[in-house]
């Protein structure tokens, strides 16, 4: 069949029209390609992306019965989808159309009109050659499940579950322990406000009252397979491993929180269980449960030393919240009795929230002695430290409080294997991108929030819960289907030699090995179309659809003519 290729050059007002000779371009392209098998239909238009321009293209495709189309205009980053949508209104498969950028990559960067015109011809010739090697691709729509699994019943998980649950979206929340609320339920006061754990308890109640949320306590995830929109999950009971529940969801949120490092693993911290040394969390628990801070003998302490940042140098990251809560704890003592002498030792102060400076001033006003130090060591309840000016001092306290580093929850490693989500250098879950998508992961449909991603306070944990919830709500609209990427890779069975290189390089786990056939197979629902596997294959058995070697070569050849 004779190919009828429409080549449409956009004037973009004066943007392109003034910089290149459009008539000459069309003439040249028509003359260069017209043959027995190819007919070029060349035309120009003032503004192809306007309503009139789109109608013009649509009618051209229909009336001229185009088999392929090339649009020479601006960047495909601006309007590729505009013209794909025009194709979709016609019989022309959108993958038999190609956009060529003669504005940003030609008209606007080459001042000489003749040179710019020749460059535009080169690019359009590349497009005309390439489009003939393109093949139809059919977008398949997939039904999706809007439901969500939340792993971890701390404040991050609770907020995510409440924010997502609705008539059309059910949420399952699993919590490994027997209680909800995570670490927050032990906190007497929640900075920055005075609002204590009443807030947490209220949110736990909101969660358990919500008829669209199902909570499983003492439960862990055992297995997950699938992809965004369709996950199949097996849950198991911690107390009875044989008790399993199968659920299906469209997305999964990991909110497994943090742990606290054992401070005695650091060489500068030495004490015995009988010593009056407490971790910050133990102090919070003591105050929440007993209402008062006391020594084990039952009498209140008179002289308290607080050490910030234990183990930060060894862990190589700041735990972000300790400076904050250590001042809160210093003030707990001062509130109990202004007579308690409180000395607080810090190397650096991390005061990231807008209210923190106020807390710092209040702590000083309350009479807490804030001492900036270079080095510190603890022996029993004796603290030896060097001040910033170099002087070394030693004080004996009757109670010492240490702030241990925030570390990943102990289930993190195991969970990363089950979910196939990488960990970062510190052992927390690795985000998709630290600045642009801190709640996403390398797998679409799996999100990380709260301290599972790294140390942070409650408000930031909640922010992440809402961020993930927002992404899920736009990605999985109840009742709507999703169109997975069609420009995906495929393994050509006959050539694959089963070396598994491609499996190793794929960052998304999109390729699996078919043991029976001894070849690799791409899971199209997971593949994102980067092409990394193509370049890794020693036998050239992988093709990335719409970016095949043959297609790219056409552009190369025209560029080199």
């Amino acid at each position: 069949m004779k190919k009828k290729i429409g080549v449409y050059v956009c004037e973009c007002g004066p943007n392109i029209a003034d910089k290149v000779d459009i008539d000459k371009i069309i003439e040249t392209v028509v003359a260069a390609n017209n043959s027995e098998n190819v007919e070029i239909i060349g035309d120009r238009h003032k503004l192809l992306c306007s309503a009139a321009g789109k109608v013009f293209l649509e009618e051209e495709i229909k009336n001229k019965e185009l088999t392929h189309m090339v649009v020479a205009a601006c960047s495909p980053r601006d309007h590729n989808s505009t013209f794909i949508n025009v194709c979709k209104k016609t019989e022309l498969n959108p993958y038999l159309y190609k956009m060529v950028n003669i504005r940003e990559h030609c008209a606007w960067i080459i001042p000489d009109k003749d040179k710019a015109t020749n460059k535009a011809i080169e690019y359009i010739q590349g497009g005309v050659a390439r489009v003939q090697y393109q093949t139809e691709l059919i977008e398949k729509k997939l039904d999706t499940n809007p439901d969500v699994l939340v792993i971890g019943g701390g404040i991050a998980g609770i907020e995510a579950a409440i924010s997502l649950a609705g008539k059309k979206r059910k949420v399952t929340l699993i919590e490994r322990s027997a209680v909800l609320g995570g670490k927050s339920v032990f906190l007497k006061e929640l900075l920055p406000s005075q609002a204590g754990k009443e807030y947490i308890n209220k949110r736990i109640k909101d969660l358990t009252d919500n008829e669209n949320i199902q909570v499983f306590l003492n439960t862990e995830i055992e297995k997950i397979i699938g992809f965004l929109g369709n996950f199949e999950i097996i849950l198991s009971d911690v107390t009875n491993k044989d008790k399993k529940t199968e659920i299906k969801t469209g997305a999964t949120i990991v909110a497994t929180g943090f742990g606290l490092s054992d401070v005695t693993e650091f060489s500068n911290i030495n004490y015995d269980t009988k010593d009056e040394v407490y971790t910050s969390l133990e102090i919070e628990k003591m105050l929440s449960e007993k209402g008062k801070l006391k020594l084990s003998s039952g009498v209140p302490p008179k002289k308290v030393g607080l050490i910030h940042c234990v183990g930060r140098d060894e862990k190589k990251y700041c735990s972000q919240i300790c400076c904050n809560y250590m001042m809160k704890i210093a003030n707990y003592f001062k509130k109990q009795s202004a007579k308690i002498e409180v000395k607080e030792f810090y190397k650096d102060l991390c005061l990231p929230h807008k209210d923190d400076q106020k807390l710092f001033n209040l702590t000083k006003k309350n009479g807490v002695d804030l001492v900036r130090i270079k080095e510190v060591s603890l022996n029993g309840t004796k603290i030896k430290y060097s001040r910033i000016d170099g002087t070394i001092e030693e004080n004996e306290f009757d109670m010492v409080v240490v702030a241990p580093p925030i570390i990943p929850s102990d289930s993190t490693k195991n969970l990363s294997e089950i979910l196939d989500i990488p960990l970062d250098e510190f052992g927390f879950f690795q985000e998709a991108h630290l600045s642009t998508n801190p709640v996403g992961t390398s797998t679409d449909g799996i999100f990380i929030i709260g301290n599972a991603q790294g140390p942070r306070g409650i408000s930031n944990s909640i922010l992440m819960a809402h961020a993930a919830s927002g992404q899920i709500r736009t990605q999985l609209i109840p009742g709507e289907q999703i169109v997975p990427e069609v420009k995906v890779s495929e393994v050509l069975e006959a050539f694959c030699m089963g070396c598994k290189n491609c499996i190793d390089v794929c960052c998304y786990g999109a390729i699996y090995f078919d043991e029976i056939k001894g070849i690799s197979v791409v899971n199209e629902a997971i593949c994102r179309g980067c092409g990394n596997c193509v370049a890794s294959c020693p036998s050239g058995s992988i093709r990335l659809k719409h970016f095949t070697n043959e297609q790219i070569y056409q552009e190369v050849i025209e560029a080199l003519k």
Partner: protein, 142 residues
């Protein structure tokens, strides 16, 4: 070949998410860029394989630039790290084949670095002009 008339042909494989966007930015800022340079868009720098690069050289390209997102910024997680390894390997292969490895260059240019994109391309184009034609063009083997 008459050296004074040498107009090199240079091909740039740019990743869609960073460097192609930088090229767009350079364009919308009306930065002058060498017309000797031809842009080919790929989704990620990791798509570029030896086959594609060698064929491009054998077909007479005087220079090839591969450009993508900065390390850590690849839209596909770690694609650019793989691109970098393959680039290092191909440099060796080119050396062995006497293909003048300096004709191949890898660069990281982010979407906001329009000016830098222009500098990278223009400098590379100048370098290739000075290097003269791809030795393959003179050889009878290919």
């Amino acid at each position: 070949m008459d050296e004074t008339k040498f107009t090199p042909k240079i091909v740039g494989f740019l990743c869609n998410w960073c460097t192609y966007a930088a090229a767009d930015l350079a364009g919308s800022s009306k930065t002058e860029i060498s017309p000797l340079f031809s842009v080919i868009r790929v989704m990620c720098s990791s798509r570029i394989d030896h086959n594609l690069l060698l064929t491009t050289f054998f077909n007479g390209a005087d220079g090839i630039l591969i450009a993508g997102c900065h390390p850590g910024d690849c839209h596909y997680d770690k694609g650019n790290y793989y691109a970098r390894r393959r680039y290092a390997l191909l440099k060796n292969v080119m050396d062995t084949l006497k293909l003048e490895p300096e004709r191949l260059e890898l660069s990281w240019v982010s979407a906001s670095e329009g000016k830098r994109y222009a500098d990278v391309v223009n400098e590379f184009s100048k370098k290739i002009e000075q290097l003269g034609p791809n030795p393959i063009k003179k050889s009878s083997v290919f």
